[in-house]
Symmetry: C2
Subunit: 310 residues, 2 copies
């Protein structure tokens, strides 16, 4: 099934306790598509300036990423510069330069308009609504957002929520959107405002998939080395949507599987700077790690034993 993502294609400069990188490929659509493409071909809609290293993008195309929907505008590409704390638990944005992203008005090529699986990455909810209107036959629509839009564009965001199937956010965003610090109540609030499912990402503490009356919990991988958390949430979304597009099945059991594939892609994203954590990763690697994820929480309950000695 065809998968489309709309989001940022950026250049990131990142400082962590383990090193730094400058003007590396980044942005929500890049992390998403690198994660998704291990499972399903993905088409990207976004914008870059005339300073973007297009050859580096094109080098990713053989993985199954179609960049033809990325507009090339006159001006500077979106740049983000950030610094992580010693334990990677918090980060500070040092600089954001929107560049050509500031005037981005997504116009979808005809191939993109036929997408069946659509992910609306973290951009202005008015633009997300505009994209959604251009993909009338989407079977499954998921979206992301961030504090900036929750604070500044709440009415458009609430309108968007009524029209999507799944919202994927991190825990602080779920709290801010709902006004409730308890993530489970926050998730229930979101479900009452539109989406059939909400995914709440909790970084090193895993992620929740909620539907009314039911919750699934996907752990994070027990990594002894984390180099760069940037993009983990977008790679999670890519694995999640990529798995759904690959299987063409949005049943509850399959959404749970999609969570595991999302968590798997998140675990690759944090293993190195930028998208380098995905270098050399094969579908067989992904499936082996997904099995390791399943084993991490696998438990059977031995009720006969418990009864016998009662």
């Amino acid at each position: 099934m065809s998968l489309l993502v709309v989001g940022s294609v950026a250049l990131d400069s990142i400082f962590t306790p383990f090193g730094q990188t400058a003007d590396a490929l980044g942005g929500s659509a890049v992390y998403f598509s690198v994660g998704a493409a291990l499972l399903a071909p993905v088409q990207v809609v976004g914008v870059i300036g005339n300073d973007y290293p297009v050859a580096e993008l094109e080098r990713l195309a053989p993985r199954g990423i179609d960049w033809s929907g990325v507009e090339r505008a006159d001006g500077e590409s979106f740049r983000w510069k950030g610094k992580y704390s010693y334990d990677l638990q918090s980060r500070e944005t040092l600089e954001t330069r929107l560049g050509v992203f500031a005037s981005f008005q997504p116009k979808l090529p005809s191939s993109a308009r036929r997408a069946e699986y659509l992910f609306l990455g973290n951009i202005d909810p008015e633009l997300q609504l505009g994209v959604l209107a251009q993909v009338p036959n989407a079977k499954l629509v998921a979206c992301d957002t961030m504090n900036y839009w929750i604070q500044g564009k709440k009415p458009a965001l609430m309108e968007l929520l009524r029209r999507v199937d799944i919202l994927l956010v991190n825990d602080s965003e779920a709290r801010e959107l709902s006004g409730d610090w308890n993530v489970h109540r926050a998730g229930r609030w979101i479900l009452a405002h539109g989406p059939r499912h909400v995914v709440i990402k909790q970084g090193e503490h895993g992620a929740l998939l909620m539907e009314p009356g039911r919750t699934f919990y996907a752990p994070a991988f027990p990594l002894e080395e984390v180099f760069d958390p940037t993009g983990a949430g977008d790679a999670f979304a890519g694995g999640f949507m990529g798995y759904l597009a690959r299987s063409g099945d949005s049943s509850e059991a399959n959404l749970r599987r999609a969570m595991i594939y999302g968590a798997t892609m998140g675990s690759y994203a944090v293993a190195a700077f930028g998208i380098r954590g995905f270098e050399g990763v094969t579908l067989a690697d992904v499936e082996a790690r997904a099995r390791a994820f399943r084993d991490l929480t696998h438990v059977t309950l031995a009720e006969p034993v418990a009864r016998a000695t009662a």
Copy 2:
């Protein structure tokens, strides 16, 4: 199988955003035994002053808690007073009065010396070693500790670690003990210093069971209402050890089950002030919640589907 816990029997005064309580039954041995007794009879060794509301303890005896090993000393009982932040994520100790606990020297009654399952609650590691020496035939020994002993009694604590099967600590204690902020590396460090298993409790983010080369993750229950986190870790230990004592089986599969029963008891502990969260809870309730825990992370991987569309 017989289960013994040595630890504090205290009176807690707790302030949370939802209310307060004064001089309520508390202490590690109390929370442990209330959690454990739902699964297996438990014998307690500890000390109380002549101001302790013994009748309230005795009211818990029919649940399967034997308090006869609790020494009654002349003086004031151990008291702790603490206040939680608005989101229950942190707490401040307002007052600690050790009272008779300051000169506690555990002397085990003969019935306690025959225990097969032993939990050394959070007391001076020298006392923990002294108790261990009095229980020569214990089949499984687990212990807890805290920052105070890690800082002040490290040599005795390291000696204890060489003699126990399982260390149960929270994540900040594992980090401080190992000197490593990554919990997975911290767990590996602990495993290299004695215990065959380490349990790292992460509060609302669940708990890890580690053995060399293998990790199990038990989530926390998705609670919309948490009233008082006090004692959740001790109740977890009670459920964990109670399940092992009940089943008499320390296999890897059964340790995973024990984690789920531990997490179940932790979820009852936080549902009300003090030990009130356990009021009216039956074994059938416990088993239903354990099944809900299992379902929370249950996932199957559909590899044939993934291959078919590759």
